[in-house]
Symmetry: C2
């Protein structure tokens, strides 16, 4: 981009006019694959199907590109919706309305903390909900939390954006800030790094070892950052993994904490899939819990940990409400105060999302009216997700040239596909990477929308795609069948 510092340029109307050429260069450069070109194409095809249902070789678009469970027929948890509708419409608290008493009681608690869901809340969120989050964290981890360190947000993405835009400095100040992120990663981290003009320093997960996160990979990446003069401001860890679906081992977590504490690098723990653990004999352990158990928050230079959670994933799948929170450990009050000011620029997180967050972290207890139904709904969703996780990865492993680690957690399979040189060349003719070409053709042939591995990052020379296993059981079978047929034809056309 040419410098435009002459007075003439500042004068000219064409210099002021907002065109693609004059937009912020980092905004233009940011990439966000889960809503990229393939999704745009899927919208075109959906419109075409609506106009002429017989014009395509399939009858519907199946969106496996994004973890959006309720778009794929997952039902909401009744208790959540009962509580939220009561706080929004106080006329429903009347005894004559057949909603469960415990939902009404809960709504009354929230309403005692605010004059109305229509009022702005404190910029960190309703105190009543933050107390519920703090109690949840203590129950989950065995260590208390301070409500002042909890910020309610419009989903986890908004929390990540708030934190990253506060900690990443302007290179004009003479530093080159960066964050470390796993490869493959969920692309919000790379997109925000680009937008904030920071470096993304990759550390590679070990595909051959169930996407483990080795100490060696972390240390090597930190050395690369040092060599490149990048000041690391944080290390992102996604557990359970997205797009990779692994659940980190206790040993990997401990070494990560030790290394980050020693190097003074904050951990940004993306734990939005904490309820989505399918592996036998495995329970989710938070970075918060492990760090407390290691006494990592003790001493002069405590570990700095920001943990993110969301109402969008888990078994709730309440993506649309944009609910979530982050919690800070090991940060100075002055840092928290700047984050608070940044939060206040958006005034507060939306109140409905705040209430969904409260209902998520403080579910009905045994003996409550809603308990049995809640537990049944939860179990049905998690059992089905587990069934689909196992079925999908097994099916993918049957296909020629495809291999897939088991999806132990989260909502995704991330199979590796071997693609021939002929496929790579054909893709290049279409101006695409080979995996993008594979995924675009899959969409055109079957209506199934997945995201190429290049959108998440992948080891050089390897090809992957990410697919959710969110279609309901019966539809999952047909997705697996379509995918298998398509894959066989593709491999016949471009043999290895």
């Amino acid at each position: 981009m040419e410098a435009a510092s002459s007075t003439f340029v500042a004068h000219s109307p064409d210099a002021s006019r907002i065109t693609l050429d004059t937009l912020n260069e980092h905004a233009k450069a940011a990439e966000y694959a889960v809503r990229g070109a393939i999704v745009a194409r899927s919208n075109e095809l959906r419109d075409q199907l609506a106009k002429d249902p017989s014009s395509l070789p399939f009858s519907e678009i199946i969106s496996c590109n994004i973890g959006n469970p309720q778009a794929l027929k997952q039902k909401p948890i009744s208790f959540v919706r009962d509580v939220v509708s009561c706080v929004i419409n106080e006329s429903l608290l009347d005894d004559s309305i057949p909603l469960p008493q415990d939902a009404k009681d809960r709504a009354r608690i929230y309403l005692s903390d605010t004059p109305s869901m229509g009022a702005y809340t404190e910029s960190k969120g309703l105190a009543s909900v933050r107390r519920e989050v703090a109690a949840f964290l203590e129950r989950r981890d065995g260590y208390p939390a301070d409500t002042e360190n909890i910020f309610l947000t419009n989903g986890a993405s908004a929390g990540v954006q708030l934190v990253m835009s506060t900690i990443m400095r302007d290179p004009a100040s003479g530093v080159r800030d960066g964050i470390m992120a796993p490869i493959p990663q969920y692309p919000i981290y790379s997109a925000l790094s680009t937008l904030l003009n920071g470096a993304l320093v990759p550390y590679y997960l070990d595909e051959s070892n169930a996407w483990a996160c080795s100490e060696q990979a972390i240390v090597s990446a930190m050395e690369v950052a040092e060599e490149q003069g990048v000041t690391l401001r944080g290390l992102v860890v996604i557990n359970p993994g997205n797009p990779t679906g692994q659940v980190l081992s206790r040993g990997d977590m401990e070494s990560l904490i030790r290394t980050c504490q020693a190097k003074g690098v904050a951990i940004m723990a993306d734990e939005v899939y904490q309820e989505n653990v399918y592996k036998e004999a495995t329970t989710f352990q938070s970075f918060r819990k492990v760090a407390f158990e290691m006494d990592a928050f003790e001493g002069d230079k405590p570990l700095q940990l920001a943990s993110f959670h969301s109402t969008s994933k888990g078994f709730l799948g309440e993506c649309g409400f944009r609910g979530g929170y982050f919690e800070l450990n090991g940060f100075d009050d002055e840092v928290s105060a700047v984050l608070y000011k940044m939060a206040s620029l958006g005034l507060c997180a939306n109140t409905a999302g705040q209430i969904v967050t409260g209902a998520m972290v403080n579910p009905p207890r045994e003996g409550d009216v809603s308990y049995t139904k809640y537990e049944a709904e939860k179990k049905a969703i998690l059992d089905s997700l587990k069934r689909r996780a196992v079925k999908l990865s097994a099916a993918l492993n049957q296909l020629e040239g495809m291999s897939c680690n088991s999806a132990d957690g989260a909502m995704y399979a991330f199979p590796q596909i071997q693609l021939s040189q002929a496929a790579v060349e054909e893709a290049a003719k279409h101006g695409m990477a080979a995996d993008a070409f594979y995924c675009m053709e899959l969409l055109n042939e079957t209506g199934v929308v997945v995201v190429p591995g290049s959108g998440f990052g992948q080891a050089f020379g390897t090809w992957h795609f990410r697919t959710t296993f969110l279609p309901p059981d019966e539809q999952m079978d047909s997705v697996i069948a379509s995918l298998g047929d398509y894959h066989d034809k593709f491999m016949a056309k471009f043999p290895l």
Copy 2:
């Protein structure tokens, strides 16, 4: 700030550690007065009152610092809440539930556009709601709108942030971008300019002429921008005014449009108070309507206009839901595509806020079940606001050394106060500007929270404060009485 480019610094854990010293300098510098020091003090006093109600010379904190009507007992519009609760909880659509049929019907329309309120929507928002916004714009202005140019957002602030962060370039690219904003202004514009490392070029509203916006003021400010080498990327206009409460004349709007079109400067029209017009024989006219009537969107170089609206203000006052939208006119599709990508980083605006937006722009019509109640609720709120607007400015004008333009629109009075040199010196002893000192003492004496004029900008050597007139009628009387008593005592202590 010192450059930190040596390898040693990048190595050092202290360089990575997140402290106040190592935060993003623009984030630290951004100021947002409506939630600043006085509000922090009010929270302390509220806590003190809760613990010991008799420890202060007042019994409650009255928050006149922010336009948050439902925090001050304004009731929500029933139709809005009926619709939102039904889309969130589909069990309420049952015939046995005593909610109005038109609210249920409306909820069914929204639900036919999405599988669930728990699903992410398209990043621009639900098509059904964007169609309602387009129909509203056409009804209001007489000119059709394209749903593709409408983005639903988490309140107007999120829309402003999205647009500004896309159009303001990094100074490292060799340009110095800026936006023009009125002085006084709502501080989101100055805060975001600071955060995005852009210039805020002020243009001064004419207090002696009911806060009019003269062509001369605009042209002079543009000249200043040129002299300073600032490339203007937009001009913010707030109509009705915040904090100033004026309604712009047609003539001022036309000259503003002409000047911006000639200079190639986009208009960012903050029209969130469009329903709040109290002046006799005055109706709100949007910049969109005036620009269409002037043919400003015709030709090679059409005017560029981004118009912002919100569910938070008007008579709805649904701040907590964080609903709103912006609409674009005169922008290229490529620019819209980048804005869309930026919107997709947050996935979508919260669905409850989207529905509130739909209910706002498409209210019950004559003959609908909810119509009579809706109209009565709307009239009661607007009549009361008008009553309070008149009463407050009249009362302020009675006080010694205070003068206040009439609040023809919005929710605020912005009186000018004359303060003596002794008051200025006393304030300086407390490390405060004179108006901040006046407002802090007001809080300490009366529990009334207002915002000093310095938070919005004011002509050099003048002092103001902004207060809402949102307390209910009876409480408004006591606020006026407390303010008068306090003011008299202050003036007795620091005579002019």
